[in-house]
Amino acid sequence: MPLLEIANLIKAYPSPEGGTHTVVDVPEFSLGEARQVGLRGESGSGKTTFLNLIAGILKPDSGHIFIDGKAMSDLGEPERDRLRATTIGYIFQTFNLLQGFTCLENVLLGMSFGPGADRDFATALLKRVGLESRLNHYPRQLSTGQQQRVAVARALANRPKLVLADEPTGNLDPRNSRESLQLIREACRENGAALLLVSHDQPVLDQFEDVHALHDVNRAALQPGEAGA
């Protein structure tokens, strides 16, 4: 059974003109354990909403999401929170580090809502991403690339089976982008986590063996070249 399985997933928002605007319409999608898949998505293709639905941050209007055999869409909010805290790692485009917490504390925080804080593992993760000398630095004291690496360490802190990455290199220069992507992929591989990465950046996607166009997966996504894309 795949680690992630999606069937007939629909999410719509009220549109300014009245009525609703469907953002996500995924008839089916799956991802096997420890697989790494890239999704190519332009702005407005609903990629963040798609990932938020998988993470349980948003609740779909209809359809099913199965993660590790559990039907996410049937779970109540506390159970979804729990599943997210224990099974999913999330890397955001803007990193979303807590500015009042040090690097180590940001990673520990990622653990504390799940399996519990493990200082040694958090330190090992930060060492793995090359930040052993920055454990007690605050995000504002780090470069953008370093902040991104903290976000990677945090996403892996709860030993997730699935890592979601939403334009993880969107704020990095090409060199940092390449290094960072390599780090994410290696770290996921080392930790046995599957990776689902969405990006509009072709050089990033070129590094994946398995790449899908989001509009092939999400029927609601605009085709490339469509107005407003």
Partner: protein, 400 residues
């Protein structure tokens, strides 16, 4: 990373508002405790200070004024009674001891009280009697000698062997200096009673001070009365207050003083109301400071929720933070209380001689802090609810 650590981090991140809010709460806690302790201790102190006597006999007038004048050495005397009236009550079989007092002079604002040496052999509180510091003695009747209360001696810098000229009246007026010269023969050990604020001289000295009306040379301002049995007080009350119309018999002293607190009860209520109001404002400031910072916190909350924190967790964190600010305020509040109460106690002692104990346990020291912490945490519920309802997906992007 525990919830407490998250709360601690948030407090540190909002250090200025945390400090200001905690200080306003500290002021409220300090004020609340001070108002209650002053109110209850002063009530207890003023109704228990009797100088070891059961009643005061004086000129017809207010019992309260008579007690304030004779026991607390405050207020003016309501008038004089004749020496024969003193002799008459002294010889009453129900009376164990009667000590005459005469007032009307001061030395630099500290009043001179004329009395007899029998006062100093009498226990002023339980079995405590007046004692003079080493090197001194009690004055001798008929001599221009003075025994100075400990507080007055300290404030005036008087010591054994010093000489001084009394001033006429109860309020210091440099123009009203008497020609008589008195010598200090003793300084009393502290009694923590109004007697500490008084300069004691022989009663004849005060009665016959140069410049006083010769016709009043044998009058006394009041007579302190110790009864053989308290029940006799009701008989004397009947005799002086109901059947007679020339003198007032203030009995029992504690009950008379209670009248004072009945009269100023409204003032207590005003003080209480002000203290409650300050507490309310402080609680409101907790609510306002956290609530106003919610917009900037929403992203942090959304991040924590995205990492798996439950709504209940972020709700608890905000309530705990409010409770922590209140707890910090309470801790500082005890320091504020110590300062405010010590100043109040010092002022009350200077003005009345009554001694309040700032550091004696009082139940307000439990209910005021606990109440403020509970209310502080409760004030956190409103912003906590805002945190609870934070839409995660909407707030994950940076606010720009």
């Amino acid at each position: 990373m525990t919830l407490f650590r998250i709360v601690f981090k948030s407090l540190r991140q909002h250090l200025l508002s945390t400090a200001v809010t905690a200080l306003s709460l500290a002021l409220a806690v300090g004020l609340l405790m001070t108002v209650w302790v002053v109110k209850e201790q002063s009530h207890a102190t003023f109704t228990n200070v009797t100088a070891g006597f059961d009643a005061v006999l004086g000129a017809r007038g207010s019992k309260l004024q008579l007690v304030l004048n004779a026991i607390f050495h405050l207020e003016a005397s309501p008038g004089n009674i004749r020496w024969s009236d003193y002799q008459f009550i002294r010889k009453n079989r129900a009376v164990q001891l009667a000590v005459p007092l005469a007032v009307g002079d001061n030395y630099r604002g500290y009043r001179l009280v004329g009395t007899e040496t029998s006062l100093f052999n009498h226990a002023y509180d339980g079995d405590k009697t007046y004692e003079v510091l080493p090197g001194g003695r009690i004055f001798e009747d008929g001599y221009k000698e003075a025994v100075v209360g400990s507080f007055a001696a300290r404030r005036l810098g008087l010591k054994v062997g010093d000489k001084f000229n009394p001033y006429h009246g109860l309020i210091f007026d440099e123009e009203a200096r008497h020609a008589d010269v008195y010598i200090v023969v003793g300084v009393l050990k502290p009694t923590n009673t109004p007697a500490d604020r008084v300069i004691w001289i022989p009663i004849q000295g005060l009665q016959t001070m140069a410049g006083h009306d010769p016709k009043a040379a044998t009058d006394v301002s009041a007579v302190l009365v110790k009864l053989r049995a308290p029940t006799a007080g009701f008989m004397l009350d009947q005799m002086y207050n109901k059947q007679g119309d020339k003198m007032t018999f203030a009995f029992p002293i504690g009950a008379v003083m209670s009248q004072l607190f009945d009269k100023i009860g409204w003032f207590d209520k005003v003080l209480e109301a002000v203290a409650y109001l300050v507490a309310l404002v402080a609680i409101g400031s907790i609510l306002a400071s956290i609530y106003n910072s919610m917009n900037e916190r929403r992203r942090d909350i959304a991040i924590m929720r995205a990492l798996g924190a439950r709504r209940a967790t972020v709700f608890s964190a905000v309530v705990l933070e409010a409770g922590a600010i209140a707890s910090l305020g309470v801790l500082i509040g005890f320091a504020f209380y110590a300062v405010i109460m010590s100043m109040a106690a010092n002022l009350i002692r200077q003005q009345t001689g009554a001694v309040l104990e700032p550091f004696v346990w009082h139940k307000v020291m439990l209910w005021a802090p606990l109440g403020m912490i509970a209310l502080g945490a409760l004030a956190g519920v409103v912003p906590a609810f805002k945190a609870y309802r934070t839409h995660v997906a909407e707030h994950l992007a940076p606010v720009s």
